[in-house]
């Protein structure tokens, strides 16, 4: 199904055409096999890098594309429509670059950003810990300054690209202060003392590696601290706004893929002498799915436009994440229903979409946490909490 997109420029329209073409040729044909085999498509990210997608939002002076959120979020949607592992992976990479690009000094940006967004390297974002998930501020990984270096010790969990990334943006505790005790670090993937647990065996997104990381006295030069000591939680929360918006776009792409599959099947499957889409029970289901996908897209694009004005989008991003991922869950569930038995077997992609949608209701803050954020925002509470 053709998706009409509103884009702010001719070059953005042309870029989306390239992305859709690349997704159709390079992602679609291999997504099912690689997901079944749990194979991470690292070379696909190199290709995205060559096209310039790994630095799309970031400043041109560091080699980025300087594109607004309304453009790169739609790139994420288009990639996720073909293969969520790739769309989500790009979202995570862009999230990992965000703290340095936004809070780094000119010197730090000149030193690291061109390589991070240049297309050859891939990033990961490491905030969660075994005992600090929704309550991220409870994290216990420590970074102690020994007078010359920071030394990182502790354990992180659920890191997308863990073991495959070239750099990790890591939040660690530099003091016990609950609000101002966390700092942000840029850790090279080949740092001594960095160890990765075997990838998790997940319900879906099996081609996207998720791993725990242990920091066994990892030595970091002080220049690798992004922002001031104690500023880490503020950085992490700002980054989460961006990450949540990205997940919203990815979820919309996944929902669109499920809708596409359901529409196609309902037009080909005959029962009682009719194509099943001609039965109102099926037609209404498809109509509700189409309405939900369009609403999800409108919601994340509204948040993207808000982000492009430069204002803080904590509430908008939480709403978009909640709406789009719940939509993806509902639409993928109904896609399985429309395909019936065919939807429950691996010959069709919808059972995979259904499994993948579940992850999106959990990552970057569960949808319950999104509600907490929204509730606090509408109550006028301090924007800096969660």
């Amino acid at each position: 199904m053709h998706v009409e997109r509103e884009l702010p420029s001719e070059e953005a329209r042309e870029l989306l055409e390239v992305v859709a073409d690349l997704a159709r040729r390079e992602l679609l044909p291999r997504a099912a096999d690689d997901e079944a085999a749990g194979r991470f498509p690292r070379e696909i990210f190199r290709l995205l890098g060559e096209v310039g997608l790994l630095g799309l939002p970031y400043p041109a002076e560091y080699g980025g594309g300087a594109q607004p959120a309304v453009v790169y979020e739609q790139v994420l949607e288009e990639l996720s429509r073909a293969w969520l592992t790739v769309g989500l992976g790009l979202s995570v990479h862009l999230l990992a670059c965000y703290p340095l690009a936004t809070f780094g000094t000119t010197e730090q940006k000149s030193r690291w950003l061109p390589e991070m967004i240049g297309g050859r390297t891939l990033g990961a974002y490491s905030l969660s810990e075994p005992d600090a998930g929704s309550d991220a501020a409870a994290l216990r990984t420590r970074a102690e300054f020994d007078g010359a270096h920071y030394r990182l010790r502790g354990t992180k969990a659920w890191t997308t690209h863990g073991g495959h990334a070239d750099f990790y943006t890591v939040l660690a505790r530099t003091a016990d202060d609950p609000d101002h005790g966390i700092s942000c670090f840029l850790v090279p993937g080949n740092a001594e003392g960095l160890r990765f647990a075997p990838p998790e065996h997940k319900m879906g997104l099996r081609a996207s590696p998720t791993a725990g990381i242990s920091f066994d006295d990892v030595e970091l030069e002080p220049e690798r601290r992004i922002g001031a000591e104690g500023e880490g939680l503020r950085i992490a929360l700002a980054a989460l706004d961006v990450g949540r918006l990205g997940i919203a776009a990815c979820a919309t792409g996944l929902a669109q893929a499920a809708l596409d599959a359901a529409v196609e099947y309902a037009g080909e499957r005959w029962q009682f002498g009719h194509r099943i889409r001609e039965f109102q029970g099926v037609g209404f289901l498809l109509a509700d799915m189409a309405a939900a996908v369009a609403s999800a897209r409108a919601t994340y694009l509204a948040a993207a436009r808000a982000a492009d004005t430069g204002r803080r989008i904590t509430r908008d991003a939480a709403i978009a994440k909640l709406v789009c991922t719940d939509t993806a869950m509902r639409v993928t569930t109904n896609a399985v229903q429309i395909l019936g038995g065919a939807g429950y077997v691996e010959d069709h992609p919808v059972e995979r979409y259904f499994r993948e949608a579940k992850a999106l209701q959990i990552v970057e803050g569960t949808n319950q946490i999104q509600r907490v954020v929204i509730a606090r925002q509408i109550a006028g509470a301090d924007a800096a909490t969660i």
Partner: protein, 260 residues
Amino acid sequence: MRVVVLVKQVPDTWSPKRLRPGDFLLDRAAADGVVNELDTYAVEEALRIKEKHDDTTVIALTMGPPPAVEVVRKALQMGADEGVHVVDDALAGSDAMVSSLVLAAAIERIGFDLVITGVESTDARMGVLPAMLAERLGAAQATLAAEVKVDGREISVRRLAGGREFDVVAPLPAVVSVVEKINEPRYPSFKGIMAAKSKPLTTLSAADLGLDSNRVGLAGSATEVVAAEERSAERARVVIHDEGDAAARIVEFLASRKLL
């Protein structure tokens, strides 16, 4: 070195194609126009030659109605330096002979050492244009190239024809058509998309090329489609009822259409 690479806009392979009633010309408005995929290999090869040889200019050339400029733009986005679009209402309906006349005139005007084309276009599928161009330009021709090396004033080509390989060497100027096997075309990058905006793109008419309107288009063409009939979807359908040998018959059917 000046490398002219030919690109053509064709109807999207996935959209239904139709001939116009009356003149039986391809109804280009009925389907989405896309770049002839085989031409993207030609563009890629031209860019690889440019990357290996300093002072090389790659010029993407097309002939076609106004929307065809899109395929020149795509070549510029991939990395070609300049674009030329030959566009003129008088050119509508040009057959291969006339197309080669017009394109040869454009190529001469552009100036060239090497012309690279795809092996054929996915709409007409004649594959004769490269040879016609070489003849009109008085240049050497090496068609069906699976490998191209340019060395000084000479070109070495590995031809892939009839399932066999032939190595040929020719002096420049030359016309080369390339097969899909030759490379993996790049995707335009975002930087390429931005850079393409400021690259020179020239539009030429038949008159600019010194061609009278009676020598081009339908008027100048030696061939003409005089009749066409729509293929019925019903007749295209073959139903195989299983009488114990359905699998074998399906294989036979697919093989007869060269799908196996």
